[in-house]
Structures are given as structure tokens and as C-alpha cells.
């Protein structure tokens, strides 16, 4: 027992590995939110008039909305006037090569293990690196350009492809959708835009690394992915953030539009600062992610590994509008110390023969609370639709909690919907079996948890899978006493 306690202590007291602040001169807006701030952000980014109008519309709608209280999480009330809504790294002239990137900035990336040139040369991943709200470098653009794929920062897209942005922005997540989506629509700083033309299969994994840097900065990313008929894209999103004492708000919006026979795969590894072992600090992660399978035979797949953030609150959803379309959701959510996670998905079946699959694995340790909240809705016209949901929870320690709130609404008799949920802890017999074969308890726990999450981790692209496994082991080693 004492040994276990020691290990537990070691792990829980270990400092956040990615906790550092880089000193880059930030170009920030004053604290607070009002119409002028919205105009300031828009002006900073040289946005056209229609974009500003759209933001203002969202802002005025936001004013009429109330902060939602239904999630199963507790946190002090956010003072929306105490947040800096815009902060950009010092602006440089247009960059022609990676050498022109601020060396300190590059160092930051290197510390995170995602050095741009490394990525460029070895992995073949095009990285649109977002450091504090402004894209600093975009790689592999040329190759993508040849195929007609547009992969650029959101603000760039507003200037260069206004017709596409106008057409698709807010079409999946309207400004009126929810409190944080409205807030994001008003003040979004930057993000990524991705457009795959008809019949094109994107040859590489597209990836964006988000990073929250300057203190007191809310980051409001906006991602828009449009997959035209018969196209395919796999999109990766991964995050780390430096150590902070104050809670930082992150309210992102991700919209995916999948046309006929297209496929979009969206993977996330989220490892933002979860707060210290007393629950102080940490990121508030309130995200709206939604995709629509608009055309027949289209497919959207969400995979997420959530290990960070003080509070995670997100429900990547799929609206299955086209006939024969498919929606998938694979999730691992790990919470430790005082973290709280309320996450899940919504699968809305509208078209005929639509299929959805939900696999959610929750692991709670320490004093954390982990909730799964999901909706499966089969509309009257969604004939022969099929859903399978599985949500499992693993509890480590007797101070944490695991909760499931599945909503299942069926209006069609030909639908087949199944839902299963289990809650358990790591079996002593499993640990014993490993110990007996010379595997130390903490390694055994990592082994078992990895096995438990395998179904989800298998869905991740190679490079992410490795990172995700490391993260799981790091978060949980020794959590069993």
C-alpha cells in the first residue's frame, strides 16, 4: 500500500510536462467584451464588411442568451468582461520559408515536440500552426494547392475565398445555436478552413496544433471543413497549453459539411492544462462540434482523446441527413485530480438506412467527475436506421464519479437502436495476473487502461495513437491504490 501511495503521490505531484510560457510580444485587445471589441477584432484582421456584420449579429444574439447550467460540472461563474478576446503574436511580414518564423516561437513548438521542419520533412503532415489565435506558418500548401485543396487559416480564407466562407459559415452551427457558439461567432480569433474539391482524396493527414499562450486570453477557434462529392479527408487536431493559475476559457466551434459519398475523419487529442492537484487553474473547454452528412452515402467520424482541461464540455455531433450516411464517434475521456468532463455525442438520424456507432470510454481517477451525455434520435422518416452505442466507465479510487446520461428517442419502427453501458474498476485479478508475470502494478494499470481504450485508440492516425498512449499512461500511472 505504501508503495502504491508513493507512486500515486509521485504522479499526482508531477508538474504538468508542457507547462511553460514563451515570451513573445503579444498584440492584445483590452479586457472585456462590447461591440467595439468585436469591431476591433474584425478591423485587426482587415475583415470585409459582411464578416463584421455577421460577427455583430452573433454578438447581439449572444447578449439575449443565458449561460447554460445543465451540464454536470461545477465551476465559478465566468466573468466575460475579464477576458481578453484577442491576442496575436507580433506580426511579421509574409513568410516565405520556415526560417522566417520567430525563433522563439519555433523553440516553443520544438519543446512540444512538433518542430515544423521536422514535421515537414519526416512525417509528411501539413501543419497549420495556430499560436495564440493567429496562424504563423502553413506548410505543404503547394502540394495541396495542386490538388485544388484549400487548407489555410480562417482569416486568410475570409480574404481569399469569401464566396465559400459566406456559403458555409454558420450553416452547421448557426450563430443562434448555443451560448458559447454565439460567443465564438462574435469574437472568433482565427482557425482553419479546409475545402476538398469534388472527387479528391486528400493525400496527407491535415493537422492543426492549437496552443494557448498569452495569459488571460480566451481562445476562440473556428474550424470549417467542407468535403465535396466523393472526396476524403482526415483532419487532426491536437493541443497542449502552458501552466496558468487563472482559468482560461476556450470556446471553439467546428463545422463539417460532407457532401454526397464524401468522408471526413476528425481526430482530436486534447491535453490542455488540467489545473494543479488541488483543482486550481486549468482550462475551461466549452466546444461546439458538429458535422452534417448532407449528401447520400457520406460519412463523418469523430475520434477524440480527452485528457486535459479543468472542465471539458463538448458533444461532437453528426446530423445524418443523406440516405445511407454514416456517423461515428469514438471517445476516450480521462479525468484525474479535480477535472470534470461532460462529454458525449448526438447522432440525429434523418435519412433512410443511416447508421451510427458510438464508443465512449471514460476513466476517472482522483476527485474527478466524468459524465457521458449522448443523444440518439431517429426521426420518423429515417427508415432502417441503425445505432449501436457503448459507453463504459472505469473508476479508480473512491472519490471520483462516473455518470451516464444517454437520451434515446425513436420514432420509427424499423429502427434498431442498442445502448449498453457498464461501470467497473480494474479487477484485482487482472492486476494479480500481471504482477504474477513480473509486471509492476503501475505498468499493469497502464496496460489494462490501454487495452480498455484500444477500440478507440485504433481509430486514431498513427502519430496520434502513439501520443495518445503516452498521455494515458502519464495521466493514470499509479492511480490505483
Amino acid at each position: 500500500m505504501s508503495k502504491d501511495n508513493r507512486v500515486l503521490e509521485e504522479i499526482t505531484t508531477s508538474e504538468y510536462k508542457y507547462g511553460f510560457t514563451s515570451d513573445i510580444e503579444a498584440d492584445s485587445a483590452p479586457k472585456g467584451l462590447n461591440e467595439d471589441i468585436v469591431r476591433f477584432i474584425s478591423a485587426k484582421k482587415n475583415e470585409p464588411e459582411w464578416m463584421l456584420e455577421w460577427r455583430l449579429k452573433a454578438y447581439h444574439h449572444w447578449l439575449t442568451m443565458k449561460e447554460p447550467t445543465w451540464p454536470n460540472v461545477k465551476y465559478p461563474k465566468i466573468d466575460f468582461q475579464d477576458i481578453i478576446y484577442y491576442s496575436a503574436p507580433k506580426k511579421k511580414k509574409k513568410l516565405n520559408s520556415l526560417d522566417e518564423v520567430d525563433p522563439e516561437l519555433r523553440e516553443t513548438f520544438e519543446k512540444l515536440g512538433i518542430s515544423l521542419d521536422e514535421q515537414k520533412r519526416l512525417t509528411g503532415v501539413a501543419v497549420d500552426a495556430v499560436l495564440d489565435s493567429v496562424s504563423v506558418a502553413t506548410t505543404f500548401k503547394k502540394k495541396l494547392h495542386e490538388l485544388g485543396i484549400i487548407f489555410c487559416s480562417f482569416s486568410e480564407a475570409v480574404h481569399e475565398h469569401p464566396e465559400l466562407i459566406k456559403k458555409y459559415i454558420g450553416s452547421v452551427v448557426p450563430i443562434t445555436d448555443n451560448y458559447y457558439a454565439a460567443l465564438n461567432s462574435a469574437v472568433f480569433s482565427d482557425g482553419s478552413f479546409c475545402y476538398i474539391p469534388k472527387g479528391v482524396r486528400c493525400p496527407m493527414e491535415l493537422s492543426t496544433y492549437f496552443r494557448i499562450n498569452a495569459a488571460n486570453t480566451g481562445q476562440f477557434e473556428r474550424t470549417l471543413i467542407v468535403a465535396e462529392e466523393g472526396s476524403y479527408v482526415s483532419y487532426l487536431e491536437g493541443c497542449t497549453a502552458p501552466m496558468r493559475d487563472e482559468n482560461q476559457l476556450h470556446a471553439a466551434v467546428v463545422e463539417i459539411m460532407a457532401e454526397k459519398n464524401s468522408e471526413v475523419k476528425y481526430s482530436t487529442v486534447q491535453n490542455w492544462y488540467p489545473g494543479d492537484k488541488n483543482g486550481k487553474g486549468g482550462i475551461y473547454n466549452f466546444v461546439t462540434k458538429r458535422g452534417i452528412c448532407k449528401g447520400d452515402g457520406s460519412k463523418i467520424s469523430w475520434t477524440q482523446v480527452e485528457t486535459g482541461s479543468a472542465i471539458t464540455w463538448k458533444y461532437p455531433s453528426v446530423i445524418l441527413k443523406g440516405d445511407n450516411s454514416i456517423g461515428e464517434f469514438y471517445s476516450v475521456a480521462v479525468t484525474n485530480n479535480h477535472q470534470q468532463a461532460d462529454t458525449g455525442t448526438k447522432m440525429i438520424h434523418l435519412g433512410k438506412n443511416t447508421k451510427s456507432r458510438i464508443v465512449s470510454k471514460g476513466v476517472s481517477a482522483g476527485f474527478s467527475q466524468n459524465s457521458y451525455r449522448g443523444l440518439v434520435k431517429v426521426h420518423k422518416r429515417a427508415e432502417n436506421s441503425r445505432n449501436f452505442s457503448q459507453c463504459d466507465s472505469l473508476l479508480m479510487g473512491d472519490k471520483c464519479g462516473a455518470h451516464t446520461f444517454p437520451y434515446i428517442e425513436i420514432e420509427n419502427s424499423t429502427a434498431r437502436v442498442e445502448h449498453e453501458a457498464t461501470t467497473s474498476k480494474i479487477g484485482e485479478d487482472q492486476i494479480f495476473y500481471c504482477n504474477q508475470r513480473g509486471i509492476a502494478t503501475e505498468d499493469a494499470v497502464a496496460l489494462i487502461v490501454n487495452g480498455y481504450c484500444k477500440e478507440v485508440l485504433n481509430q486514431l492516425p498513427m502519430e496520434f495513437a502513439v501520443e495518445a498512449q503516452k498521455l494515458l499512461a502519464l495521466t493514470l500511472e499509479g492511480s490505483v491504490g
Binding site: T69, W70, K380, S393, L395, M396, G397, D398, K399, C400, G401, A402, H403, T404, F405, P406, Y407, I408, E409, I410, E411, N412, S413, T414, A415, R416, V417, E418, H419, E420, A421, T422, T423, S424, K425
Partner: protein, 442 residues
């Protein structure tokens, strides 16, 4: 979350009704029982009745349904049921204790208790309060208040009649206790508030069967609360047979408290009613409790049946098992919400829940929301939920053996319901249910 105050008119109408009710009580309005009623009314005044925005009533708009069908200013609890008409509702079982309530009032003429008084006390609630005031006051309202339901408060405010059952410690009551609630709607629209209190003594055993019927075609509104205390090492079962007409509106709250080493089975079997809402809350207050909850709803037409259950594991080493099955025909709507709470102290809990539904038409709807909330780590909890249709292969198997489509369907549905029916202990109930199911399916 506080229920949103909607439709102030229904709630305020109820407040007016309460003032009338208070006058009718004469001298009893100063009694401790009335204090509980008044407190419940205050709760209703401040919280109102839940609307569709309320999470617990998300899928069931009771207020709207009551407003549409029941005119609270035009209520009549008069009855003209003849003896033979009452007899027609009773089961073919002479060997039982029988209590009958007509439009909420105790019908002594039709009731008979054959078990000795030393073993079993069965009284009308009002009478019980006169004879056993201390016991009634010790339990009355204590349990219903714990899992707050606004409709339970309404019942508490208007509570007067109902079944009071007390089983003496160590006694095994072999003959079942049959409670029949009959609504006679021929004279008007009856609205009443049955209030039951069952105290099951230590090491005793009892089986209680409650059935609900309607006479006539007009609507009725019944808002019932049942509080059950299952003492140490006691064993019992409680059946609810809901056989009301297609116009009946019903809100039913059942609160069960189980003490150490007790075993209890609950059956909620719904075959009728226009709008039925059942709240079943079970608190496992001590270690080593065992509880089984079975539910079956076989509904058609425009019926709406909503089952909300809560099992609260408070102490370690208890076991709970829940099986709810539904067959929905025509435009029927089913709702299921099963909550399992496992508190921090409730280590070594074993909780199982399953909800399976068959939709027979495209107009039928099912909304399920199983919910596990767990704060203890050494537990085994699972739930499963399915909604679908009859298996084509099973159908084919039967058809290929020369069984008509209709019979094959009936056989399969019967088999589907069997998981619940087979656990019914009493032959005469099982036969009765089989008959109803047979009629329904053919």
C-alpha cells in the same frame, strides 16, 4: 434544478381547491397531518407544476394533458356502481384480503380482510390516522418528500383516503392483499388522490396487488402516492396492474425504503390509460438489500406511458435489478428513464438495468434515458437499452412451420413479455395478464 413555474392557472386552481378541501375537514384542520398537507401546498405554490422545459418532464407534458381533458372546476366523485359491477372487476380469487376504493373512497361493503388482525392491519388511511396516529405521522410524507416530485406534493396536500397496511413483525401473510381502485366516470369526471402507506414489519413477508380500473367513457384524473417501508429482513412484493380506460389520466408516485437485509419486488404493469406517469423511487438505506423492479407496458391508440425509476444505493453490498419491457402499437408513446445512483459509501454494489422496446408501427414513439450516476469505485453496474422491431428470422422460422403471420407475431411478442411475466409469483395474476395480452395481440 427547480421546476419552472408554468401554467399558473392549474396550480392556482389547485390552491383554490385546497381551500375548499380544508373547509370540508371541519375539526381536523388543526391536526399534525394537516400541517404536512399545508407544507406540501406551500411547495406547490412556490414551485408550480413542471412543464416540458423541466428535465424530468421533458417527454411528458402532463400539465397540457390535464388541461385538455380535465376541468378541475367540474369534478364529480359520485358513483352509481352496483354490486355486480364492482364484482366484475375483482379477480377470481376468493382466498385473498380485498380492499376496494371507488372514486377514491373506501368501499367497506366490498372489502374483506381474512388474515387475523394480530398479523395484519388494513385500514382506510383516514381511519388509520385516528387509530395509529403516531405511526402514520412517523412515516407520512417523509419518503415522498425525499425525491421531490411536484405531483407528489399535490397528492400530499389533498391526501385523505387510501390503503394503510401494517404487517406485524415476524408474520408471514400468505394470502395476498388485493387493492382495487375503481373510477366510475358515468356521473362526471372523477379526480382523486389516493394515499397509501405500507409498513412491512421486521422479518415479515407480504404480497400486495393493486389494480386500477375505469367504468364509463369519460376522463378521470388519479394522482396517487404510495409510501412503503420495508423493515429489516422483511420480504415483499408489490404489483401495480394499470388497466384503466383510454381516457384515464394518471400520475403515480411510489417511494420505497428498504432497510437491512430486506428483499423487495416491484411490478409496474401498464395496459391502459391515456396518459400514465409512474415515478418509482427506491432507496436502499442499509447494506445487503435486494430489490427487483419489473415493468411491462403494452399500449396502443394514443396512449402515453412514462416510467421514471430511481434506485439509490446508499450503503454497501446491495443488489438491484431492473427489467422494463415495452410493446408500443398504433400511435402510442413510451418513455423510460431509469436512474441508478451509487453513493460514495455504497461499495460492492451490484446494479443491473435493462429496457427493451418493440415498436409495432411507424407512428409509435419511444424515448429512453437510462442514467447511471456512480461515486463509488468497487461496483458492478451496467445498463442496456434497445428499441427495434420483431426479428425477421424468428418470424421466418415460425412462418416456415405453417404458423400464420398473426399468430407468429403474437407468439413472439408474448415471448418478449415473458421475461417479466414469468417472474410473477401468483398464478391467478399471471393467468389474468396472459388473458389481457392474448386479447391485445390477436
Amino acid at each position: 434544478m427547480k421546476p419552472k413555474a408554468v401554467k399558473a392557472d392549474i396550480a392556482s386552481k389547485l390552491v383554490d381547491k385546497f381551500n375548499e378541501f380544508e373547509k370540508e375537514l371541519n375539526g381536523h384542520s388543526k391536526s399534525p397531518m394537516h400541517t404536512v398537507r399545508k407544507n406540501a401546498l406551500e411547495e406547490l405554490k412556490s414551485n408550480g407544476l413542471p412543464g416540458p422545459k423541466d428535465e424530468e418532464y421533458k417527454y411528458t407534458n402532463l400539465v397540457k394533458s390535464i388541461e385538455k381533458h380535465i376541468d378541475l372546476d367540474n369534478v364529480s366523485n359520485d358513483s352509481s356502481l352496483s354490486d355486480s359491477e364492482v364484482e366484475s372487476f375483482l379477480f377470481d380469487n376468493e382466498d385473498a384480503n380485498i380492499i376496494v376504493f371507488i372514486n377514491g373512497l373506501y368501499a367497506a361493503r366490498h372489502s374483506k380482510i381474512i388474515s387475523p388482525v394480530s398479523d395484519l392491519v388494513v385500514l382506510d388511511f383516514e381511519e388509520a390516522f385516528m387509530q395509529h396516529p403516531e405511526e402514520v405521522i412517523a412515516h407520512f410524507g417523509n419518503y415522498a418528500a425525499k425525491y421531490k416530485d411536484p405531483y407528489a406534493s399535490v397528492n400530499t396536500a389533498f391526501s385523505k383516503n387510501g390503503a394503510f397496511i401494517k404487517v406485524s413483525p415476524g408474520k408471514v401473510i400468505e394470502k395476498p392483499i388485493m387493492i382495487h381502485f375503481i373510477s366510475d366516470t358515468r356521473q362526471g369526471i372523477p379526480v382523486y388522490y389516493p394515499r397509501n402507506l405500507f409498513i412491512i414489519g421486521e422479518r415479515s413477508e407480504v404480497n400486495i396487488v393493486e389494480s386500477f380500473h375505469t367504468f364509463g367513457d369519460q376522463p378521470s384524473l388519479v394522482n396517487q402516492v404510495t409510501e412503503i417501508v420495508v423493515s429489516k429482513e422483511a420480504k415483499g412484493s408489490y404489483y401495480k396492474l394499470q388497466l384503466e380506460s383510454d381516457n384515464a389520466q394518471r400520475v403515480d408516485n411510489t417511494q420505497i425504503h428498504q432497510r437491512k437485509d430486506s428483499v423487495f419486488n416491484t411490478y409496474t404493469l401498464t395496459f391502459g390509460g391515456a396518459m400514465v406517469r409512474n415515478n418509482l423511487n427506491i432507496a436502499l438505506e442499509d447494506p445487503h438489500c435486494e430489490t427487483h423492479m419489473y415493468g411491462l407496458y403494452l399500449i396502443k391508440g394514443n396512449a402515453h406511458v412514462d416510467n421514471h425509476t430511481v434506485v439509490d444505493h446508499i450503503m454497501p453490498e446491495s443488489f438491484s435489478n431492473e427489467i422494463y419491457k415495452g410493446i408500443l402499437d398504433d400511435k402510442a408513446t413510451g418513455v423510460f428513464n431509469g436512474k441508478i445512483f451509487v453513493r460514495q459509501d455504497a461499495q460492492k454494489t451490484n446494479a443491473f438495468q435493462s429496457n427493451k422496446n418493440i415498436l409495432l408501427t411507424d407512428d409509435a414513439k419511444m424515448n429512453s434515458k437510462p442514467q447511471l450516476e456512480i461515486w463509488a469505485d468497487d461496483v458492478k453496474c451496467s445498463h442496456g437499452c434497445t428499441t427495434g422491431q420483431l426479428d425477421d428470422e424468428q418470424m421466418f422460422y415460425l412462418r416456415s412451420r405453417g404458423i400464420s403471420a398473426e399468430s407468429a407475431r403474437a407468439i413472439l411478442l408474448h415471448a418478449f413479455a415473458a421475461d417479466v411475466l414469468e417472474t410473477v409469483k401468483f398464478e391467478f395474476i399471471r393467468e389474468h395478464l396472459d388473458r389481457i395480452i392474448h386479447e391485445r395481440l390477436h
